[in-house]
Symmetry: C2
Subunit: 136 residues, 2 copies
DNA sequence: GTCGTTGCAAACGGTTTGCACCGTC
DNA sequence: GACGGTGCAAACCGTTTGCAACGAC
């Protein structure tokens, strides 16, 4: 998983990581781009993509590639589940114990060499749920 | 969820549904396009997309929008989990009991109005796992 | 005959990539 | 100074959409 040559610590990389770790939301690449531009106005979107991708490969950040067209990123790399609002697209952490044994059970049932699992609960976030009840 | 005016049963729609139900794999839209073209050589990719989207809204088929860049479709609409191979991208059914209580627990913890949940186990499928062990 | 559906092609949106220059090690 | 990283812009690829013709009801 870790590459042979270590990543150079450029200021772009540093700011991206700091910014991502400073929020509890799960920004998309272009949301990260907007955040990082406050410190580095000349950074390019390509650099943001490259670094988020690279750091997720290194296990420094988590790529949330689950539902929806845009990928999202998370500074918290420990296994945890997510909630996604079907109306506004927002993603929250689900503070729940990871289900025990799924990976082992899946490996036995399928013959896969299991590496991780993810669980996503979908519905309406409190804000969107409220709106919806009113209009219906 | 169901629309007011019923869907017209065009031959395109019929063939797409038949083909999807006849396989146990989880085809992408363009794989469906190739399959359907055997019966309807003049069908367009746009029609395939439109119908898969429409039928998934109607609950006739299942859209698997979880991980990976392409969406996949499933003729089996009952709640079930999936396995995804990180090497070849193939998706298999995970024949496992859905985890009880996740949705209720998530609703309580988060205040979301929960509608569904999905779980995806990722790793290497038996074929890719074998190749990988040899080369490493 | 109406109006939902189709085929076509062009547009879209998120992401990736080639390239010449730049800055970390 | 080497070589990995950057900014920029163009390319990519899956998907969506506008439109005129078509066909299910």
């Amino acid at each position: 998983m870790l590459s042979d040559t270590p990543m150079r610590m450029t200021k772009q990389r540093k700011v991206i990581l700091e910014r991502l770790r400073s929020v509890t939301s799960h920004p998309t690449a272009d949301e990260m781009y907007e955040m990082v531009r406050q410190d580095l106005p000349k950074i390019s979107l390509g650099t943001v993509y490259r670094n988020l991708e690279l750091m997720s490969e290194e296990g420094v950040v988590l790529k949330i590639d689950v539902g929806g067209s845009k990928k999202r990123f998370d500074g918290n790399t420990s296994t945890h589940y997510h909630l996604r609002c079907l109306n506004c697209g927002r993603v929250d952490d689900l503070h729940m114990e990871p289900v025990k044994g799924v990976e082992a059970e899946a490996a036995i049932l399928s013959g896969y060499q299991v590496m991780t699992h993810s669980l996503e609960v979908r519905g309406l976030c409190p804000a969107c749920g409220k709106k919806n009840t009113k209009s219906n």
